[in-house]
Amino acid sequence: MERKTKIHAEDGRQEITITREFELPLDLLFRAYTDAAIVEQWMGNKVLQLDNKALGAYRFETTDPKGNVVLRSRGTIHSFEPNHRITRTFEMENTPFEAQLEFLEFAALTESTSLLTMHVIYRSVAQRDQMLQLPFAQGINMAHNRLEQIVLTVQSTNHE
């Protein structure tokens, strides 16, 4: 299967470009970024604030199944051009990562397909590389947690 989402990340640079083609008309793709209830559905978080305008701001909150807050993120919207472009910052609160600058560009390919280009600029090459490796590190952590659970289960079974 062809990979729809592409990441362009050159060695030694503090930026990346993420591109994705959607089987959606441009206005629906853009709406997915601007309607708070829809953002919540696909991002899987709570939208505390989302002012879609130049000099607006947004705040998201991610909770675990018990309702504990695991991550808060926020940013300011620098420019907002419907069905064309959003320029904003993004920052995860209480993490070592500093704010990043995001240029989101929305374009129609056909009447029923569209393209999103996300150009992200980080404070440093090191921060970019850390951010890129975060999901891999989390995958290993998840595997490790699962392993701990398995070991605990095995131990308790042995004690029975």
Partner: protein, 107 residues
């Protein structure tokens, strides 16, 4: 490198990731590895075969027993790589597409 795609298929599986985590601490025989999981010895052997084929594991013959260790060099290559980051966005965007395909505009 043609190998890479297979490598990421290999680590996409949670059991195989757990095996790699186990082997990060010590060299182990297939039997010892299997003891950590609820699956059969055969299932674990299959996982070990896949990981070995991707050169993430190295076998060491000790008399009659084979111990497996991590191939540190190839593990490092994965850690530097960004496939899990891409997959994270791919899943997020797939969700977006699914949500919007069901979207009915408000009048």
């Amino acid at each position: 490198m043609e190998l890479r795609r297979d490598v990421f298929q290999a680590i996409a599986d949670p059991t195989r990731r757990a095996i790699l985590t186990l082997l990060a601490f010590q060299a182990m025989t297939p039997t010892a590895i299997a003891e950590n999981f609820g699956s059969t010895r055969q299932t674990i052997s299959k996982h070990i075969q896949i990981l070995s084929a991707c050169e993430l594991l190295q076998p060491q013959q000790n008399g009659r027993e084979i111990h497996y260790t991590l191939n540190a060099k190839n593990m490092k290559a994965i850690a530097d790589f960004i496939e899990p980051f891409r997959v994270l966005w791919e899943e997020r965007f797939n969700k977006l597409e699914d949500v919007m395909k069901q979207y009915i505009p408000k009048k």
